[in-house]
């Protein structure tokens, strides 16, 4: 990085490595295809993802045909169909089906000040039946209504649509403004949108908004809102109160102060208001409003019209209430005439260990409409418990709700919504951690589950004698006294079927090759929160499942597969033989239920090596097998169970050097450069020698290419020769072996070659040539399918230290290439782009594709003397799930942690006398949680697997099974079977494990925390874990080597005891020192109490420890009993959040007031402020780029790079020593830092680190965000690149689509104008543009479209 900081201006390119995992909100509907349920997710980081629930039947049939032992296994996955980049802050989403349409469209509220209406569509590609239909999106309307930004009075925070007719949509801001847009269709069937109607209400804060299902009456929107008084009125009211109090001896004053804001009695009323859109008058009015529970925070609409009673469910603390205009009060349980309960309300069952004084907030409610007017709602609490809410209607009038029942369903991760599918699936986008798709096993659980009803609630109120309903329902104690309790367990009524990966929240990142035996560095990320905390080790590359490994008698020289023509299943061919070639022998393995060695009966010549072999014929006829040995070409046919071999021998003493074969063509090369071409005669089934040609130079490699579908031959062959040329020869009958084009490779020689047919950008197939070179790189070029011309801009990429061997494989149904060097790689095409990803596996020598019934898309490869069968992806090769097309592929290893991880550091520990070992120390802490021992003593079990007191679910009859779909009855059956059969089945338990949040302490300032030592060389297994007790929380850690103590690496941990958040306070704080004994154990050394504030950062500084304590920076020396204070600097603005040290400088990030450069003057033993920042940035993380330059991230999602101006340092050092300490920090005298770069990432950056992502590669600045994005700022290395990217970004700012109406430049300049950082995401949008636009931009850049694409690809390739 020093090279680029020395340039005049630092220019960086922001590249996304992993997309943000968090889902802001989601909606389920039929978006791209009518009749297929899909899920649209708004992701943090500004993308809209469309997922389809794909259910595939995986039949695992035993090969023996006699046994009818077929196991039908259903696999449910979410498949990403479309990703829309919006480059804006997304906020709200609703799906709407406009009358007369068969599909839903989505409405998105973002920060662009626009309401965008987006439709998805399926486009069937014209000439490619093989691949799935691609999904496109279209921005139908994007009317602008206000200023951009997430402002208080710009609508966009809430969106609600008319659920029945799709006639209107309301978009609301947090305060005051609400707009209603009327949607319609014109005669052409196009959706029209009218100008907005206003429904503003001043000084009104909206909590939630929902469209009431009102049948086909005028559309109504329900809003949960509170109005605050005008300033003048508030002052008057206060005055009046004050005078009253003076009269009443301050009695009421005390009373009033007990009520916290947001509680009942704070002087505000929360209202549920109906806003009616009068379609006739084209006018919106506030039709009806009623007060509701003060703590209410979410709404859900109940089906109306003919299907139900209409109205809304209001979720609040401890209660769910049903409200509707004109509803009749519930019948009182006992005849106390004094009190007439008006509310239809039901308390929720509580957790056993939840304190009685604390309410449980319902945060999301979602309603599923079933068939025949049936419906139910699911509500989730802030603890993650999911309740099923059912309403009972009066027998006489189906529109009158009489009772409500709430029963506990299961405990799931806390979600940002509950998407219930008609296929009895539930998608929960978790607020933190992985998202889950769950399958219901049972839903009619009223009889067996923990439940509570509205009658019981109401009768409790009546019995209590309380006069006010509001007051009764406001108290959590009252609720706790009446409801049943439960203990959270593993999932009882559903099980997890699919996990959608999310890193959120990432708190820290570290990049390095710590595992000790891998080629490229790993990313160590601290992820998750509370019970879902984990340390995840990310490796660039595709994950590989090893299916079989077997030893071979020697080191093979090649491996081939032979397709089986006898058994075709679903039109797919499986492999019959695996042929392994050795230096002087060939091993033939037959593929069946097991892989067995074949002898002579196969017809193969086993005493010679094999150069190529293939099954011949196009599948419908057994054409036999061809085997090419150095001595000749053998055609093995099976006639009446007799092996019949016809052989063509090489004339003279020449030998075949290399050969290639496909289903009908064989090309061999003899020493000296003589090529001989054979073709299968389709009539006679014999091989005929068709042509001979001498190319005059020895051939290194050749490939005849695959036979295109529906054709009888491949039209081209690629031949690489020892004179460093690669030639493309024609195989067309009229011009056999005529050279078509060639390319020269310069100094290196070709090693292997492959032609492949890949899916092009717009559904067309393209012919691509891949050549593996001896210098360890691979060359890829497109070939014109008519003329055979090799494209002028082939791309070349270095893959490893060994010559690259190339072969064709199939992945995810699409043709790919396998490239083997010192690392195995996979090259794929998708979305019009080619991408290469390494496989996370040991180096392989030879490989080819492999397919049988169990492994549809596998790879058979050799490594040393072993033969391995692998599959890419995690699902055993069936339906391999690869990284999303526009993301870099990463695979993660998870290590579960106890609490939310906060920081980590590397320690070099002594092992034995001389040995050293790198260990990773992490600190974990959770606010509002008990320590592990306390939890245990309370009887809390985090896994939920303890035997519970609650009743086990009984199997029920199927009569009233969930009426979602036909499948549901089967589910109930399965459920029964499961209960009987595999109660102890570990697999089953694994799909039922669920994170359970620990009991919430009733008081403030409770913490659970631990310090952990893990071994990165041993899959990050925990070496030692020290639990901190007595509410002590470890918040930061650092490795420190005290020079006075011989430089042993010690672990310093900063802790705070009983810290509270609101208001910020703590009892005491400490710095604790640990020694790592023997590389596997933490030994407590001592604990030093520090005053002045919490310790949030520590750093090793010149053989001492520099600690940020509140507003003070202090330097400590190691002592025997405790740390010794050496020097301090007081009076930093707010709180020291981050610290770095280099030389005699310390870099201090303040929680509010940005960065300070501090210098330690060793002669005078004092810390001097050198420079500070002009702007006040609330720093979240920082990373040192060089002595004068620091990159900082702030709480608003910006990254800035700050530099000390030249010469500023000199002034700070006072040689005379007469100047007072405070002189240097005088406002006017302190030099200011220059801002080199500014960029709005859009998500809070929580950690940054400088690292090279490939061994020996250039360094880049890697960052992670709270929402799970991993990105990198890459310095430009040439002026040419800077100019190219600057102009490309400039054009794309204009040309790139704006789905939410947000200007990309304005978004990247959210808080400060973007400076010197180029938006790589925006540049990548180039690939998605229509061809004409691409062409236009490329022309302006003086390049061809291919060159622009190649440049984009090369930049990414250079990074990883």
């Amino acid at each position: 990085m020093s090279s680029i900081t020395s340039a005049a201006a630092m220019k960086l390119l922001d590249i996304r490595l992993k997309h943000a995992g968090s889902i802001i909100t989601s909606a389920i509907g039929e978006f791209s295809t009518s009749g297929v349920q899909e899920i649209v997710c708004l992701r943090a980081g500004g993308t809209i993802d469309l997922f389809r629930i794909v259910i595939t039947n995986v039949s695992t049939e035993n090969n023996d045909d006699d046994e009818e032992d077929e196991e039908e296994e259903v696999q449910t996955t979410l498949k990403l169909l479309k990703r829309v980049e919006t480059r804006s802050t997304l906020r709200s989403l609703t799906a709407i089906r406009i009358s007369g349409s068969k599909k839903d469209v989505i409405l998105v509220g973002a920060d662009g000040g626009c309401l965008s209406l987006i439709a998805f569509d399926t486009a069937t590609p014209a000439n490619n039946k093989n691949s799935d239909a691609s999904v496109t999106y279209k921005i139908i309307h994007c009317p602008s209504f206000g200023k951009s930004g997430c402002r208080r009075d710009t609508p966009g925070q809430y969106l609600a649509s008319d659920p029945r007719g799709g006639r209107a949509v309301m978009i609301a801001s947090t305060e005051k403004r609400k707009l209603v847009y009327v949607l319609n269709r014109d005669s052409g069937g196009n959706i029209t949108i009218a100008s907005p109607l206003e429904a503003h209400r001043p000084r009104t804060v909206v909590f939630d908004l929902v469209g009431v299902d009102n049948g086909f009456d005028n559309p109504i929107f329900a809003s949960l809102e509170v109005q605050y008084p005008e300033y003048e009125d508030a002052v008057l009211a206060e005055r009046k109160k004050k005078t009253d109090e003076e009269d009443h001896e301050k009695m009421e004053e005390e009373e009033r102060h007990d009520v916290e804001l947001g509680q009942h009695g704070d002087g505000y009323t929360k209202q549920l208001a109906y806003y009616e859109l009068d379609l006739g008058l084209n006018h919106v009015s506030r039709r009806w409003a009623t007060s509701t529970v003060r703590s209410a925070c979410c709404l859900a609409a109940i089906p109306g019209g003919l299907d139900g009673p209409s109205g809304v469910l209001v979720g609040g603390e401890d209660y769910i209430e049903y409200l509707h205009e004109g509803m009749s009060p519930p019948s009182s349980a006992n005849g106390n005439n004094k009190i007439t309960p008006k509310r239809l309300i039901c308390a929720i069952p509580r957790r056993e260990l939840h304190p009685k004084s604390k309410g449980i907030l319902i945060t999301t409610i979602s309603v599923l409409r079933q068939k025949k007017g049936k419906f139910f709602a699911l509500a989730q609490s802030e603890l993650g418990d999911v309740y099923k809410v059912t309403l009972q209607m009066s027998k006489e009038d189906k529109t009158v709700v009489t009772h409500m029942t709430i029963c506990l369903l299961d405990t799931l991760p806390i979600g940002n919504g509950l998407n219930i599918s008609k296929l009895a699936l539930l998608f929960v986008p978790a607020e933190f951690g992985d998202h889950g798709l769950y399958q219901f096993d049972a839903i009619d659980i009223e009889d067996s589950a923990v439940k509570f009803t509205s009658e019981e609630t109401i009768s409790a109120f009546v019995k209590s004698g309380e006069s006010s309903e509001d007051a009764f329902y406001a108290s959590s104690e009252n609720a706790a006294a009446i409801v049943p309790t439960f203990r959270p367990t593993i999932l009882r009524n559903m099980h997890k079927v699919f996990t959608l990966d999310s890193l959120a929240p990432v708190t820290s990142v570290l990049v390095g090759e710590l595992a000790g035996n891998e080629v490229s560095p790993q990313f160590y990320t601290l992820c998750g929160r509370g019970p879902r905390s984990s340390l995840r080790i990310l490796r660039h590359g595709l994950s590989v499942t090893e299916l079989a490994v077997s030893e071979l008698p020697g080191v093979p020289g090649g491996v081939f597969n032979v397709r089986d023509d006898r058994t075709t299943k679903n039109g797919k061919f499986y492999d019959r033989y695996i042929v392994v070639s050795f230096a002087d022998a060939t091993l033939v393995l037959s593929v069946g239920e097991t892989v067995e060695e074949m002898g002579k009966e196969s017809g193969f010549l086993t005493s010679d090596p094999t150069l190529a072999c293939s099954a011949l014929g196009n599948g419908d006829k057994d054409g036999g097998i061809v085997q090419v040995c150095p001595g000749g070409v053998r055609h093995i046919r099976r006639v009446n169970n007799q092996v019949n071999v016809s052989q063509w021998s090489v004339p003279g003493i020449k030998k075949i050097e290399c050969a290639s074969a496909n289903e009908s063509q064989i090309l061999i090369a003899l020493a000296g450069g003589e090529l001989i071409y054979f073709e299968l005669d389709p009539m006679s089934g014999n091989l005929t020698e068709a042509c001979t040609r001498d190319i005059g130079t020895d051939v290194c490699c050749l490939d005849v290419g695959p036979v295109p579908k529906g054709k009888s031959r491949s039209l081209f062959a690629v031949v690489g020769s020892r004179d460093s040329n690669v030639r493309l020869l024609s195989l067309a009958p009229a011009s056999l072996l005529e050279p078509k084009s060639s390319t020269t490779l310069g100094a290196t020689k070709p090693y292997s070659a492959a032609l492949s047919i890949v899916d092009g950008g717009d559904g067309a197939s393209e012919l691509t040539m891949t050549v593996g070179l001896e210098d360890g790189s691979a060359l890829r070029a497109n070939v014109d399918p008519i003329t055979g011309a090799i494209s002028t801009s082939p791309s070349r990429r270095f893959l490893g230290a060994r010559p690259v061997s190339v072969s064709r494989v199939t992945l995810d149904g699409s043709p790919s290439t396998l490239l083997l060097s010192s690392r195995p790689w996979i090259g794929r095409n998708g979305n019009g782009r080619h991408s290469m990803a390494p496989m996370s596996y040991a180096p392989l020598d030879h490989g080819c594709s492999f397919s049988n019934e169990a492994v549809r898309e596998g790879i058979v490869a050799t490594s040393g003397t072993t033969l391995r069968i692998l599959s890419v992806g995690e699902n055993g090769g069936n339906n391999a799930l690869l990284g999303n097309d526009d993301d870099e592929a990463f695979n993660a290893t998870n290590v579960s942690l106890r609490y939310t991880p906060r920081q980590m550091c590397l320690l070099s520990a002594k092992v034995g006398e001389t040995g050293k070992k790198i260990v990773l120390a992490l600190v974990e802490s959770d606010y509002n949680d008990y320590g592990a021992e306390e939890k245990k003593s309370m009887g809390f079990d985090g896994t939920g697997r303890l035997k519970t007191t609650s009743k086990k679910i009984e199997s029920k009859s199927n009569d009233d099974a969930m009426d979602m779909d036909e499948d549901s009855d089967d589910d109930a059956n399965n459920e029964e079977k499961k209960e009987e059969a595999d109660e102890e089945d570990e697999d089953d338990i694994n799909t039922r494990l669920t994170p359970i949040r620990g009991p919430v302490p009733s008081g403030k300032g409770h913490w659970g925390s631990c310090v952990r030592l893990v071994d990165p060389q041993n899959a990050c297994s925990t070496l030692d874990c020290v639990e901190l007790n007595r509410n002590e929380a470890a918040l930061c850690c650092a490795s420190v080597r005290f020079h006075s103590r011989g430089g042993e690496s010690l672990l310093a941990v900063g802790t705070v005891t009983s810290m509270t958040m609101h208001p910020l306070g703590h009892k005491e704080s400490h710095v604790v020192l640990y020694r790592v004994v023997n590389g596997d154990r933490l030994q407590f050394l001592h604990r030093t109490k520090v005053d002045d504030g919490p310790v949030l950062s520590l750093v090793h500084f010149q053989g001492r420890l520099l600690v940020g304590i509140g507003r003070t920076l202090r330097l400590y020396e190691m002592g025997k009993r405790q740390l010794l204070k050496k020097c301090e600097l007081r009076g930093l603005p707010t709180m020291v959040k981050t610290l770095h040290a280099a030389g005699d400088r310390a870099y201090v990030g303040d929680m509010m007031q940005s960065l300070h450069f501090i210098r330690y003057d060793s002669t005078a033993n004092r810390l001097v402020l050198v420079a500070r920042d002009r702007s006040s940035r609330p720093i979240t993380c920082q990373e040192l780029l060089d002595m004068n330059t620091v990159a900082v991230g702030d709480k608003f999602g910006n990254v800035s790079i700050l530099r000390l101006p030249g010469g500023a340092d000199v002034g700070a050092i006072d040689v005379t020593g007469t100047r007072a300490l405070w002189d240097s920090s005088r406002e006017d005298a302190t030099p200011k830092l220059e801002t080199l770069c500014t960029y709005h990432v859009g998500e809070v950056v929580t950690s940054m680190t400088r690292a090279s992502l490939v061994a020996g590669g250039a360094e880049s600045l890697v960052y992670v965000t709270v929402t799970g994005r991993v990105g990198a700022f890459v310095p430009f290395t040439s002026r040419e690149d800077v100019e190219f990217y600057t102009s490309l970004e400039g054009y794309l700012r204009v040309e790139a689509p704006r789905p939410t109406g947000r200007d990309p430049q304005a978004y990247r300049s959210y808080y400060a104008p973007t400076k010197h950082i180029i938006d790589g995401d925006l540049c990548d949008a180039y690939a998605q543009l229509p061809y004409e636009t691409k062409q236009k931009i490329a022309e302006q850049l003086d390049r061809s479209v291919g060159e622009v694409m190649k440049k984009l690809e090369d930049t990414k390739n250079a990074l990883l």
């Binding site: 925070c297 945060t363 929240p505 929160r529 929580t1246």
Partner: protein, 94 residues
């Protein structure tokens, strides 16, 4: 200030239309309250910031969002009505 048509807009009208509009006579409390409401609304609108607070406080996002919205009602407590404020008002009125 005037409308596009040229008719003058009264200060009170402006204040009613554009929330947060300040004037010379604004009290400190009013100004600070306004700032805080803007801040809260911005936090609620940015999912990433909400996540950041939710992790720190170990609360669910729903709870954090609700607390922010509730805080918008009275971000700085009740308006101060001591003798100082009364004296200030007197000066303004004169």
């Amino acid at each position: 200030m005037s409308t596009p048509g040229g008719a003058p807009i009264h200060k009170d009208q402006l204040k009613a239309k554009y929330i947060g509009t300040g004037d010379a006579d604004m009290t400190k409390y009013e100004w600070v309250t306004n700032m805080h409401r803007d801040t809260m609304a911005s936090h609620v609108g940015h999912y990433d910031q909400m996540s950041y607070y939710a992790v720190a406080q170990n609360e669910s996002l729903g709870r954090v969002k609700k607390e922010f919205l509730e805080k918008m009602l009275e971000p700085c407590g009740k308006p101060p009505v001591g003798a100082k404020e009364e004296a200030y008002e007197k000066i303004l009125n004169n």
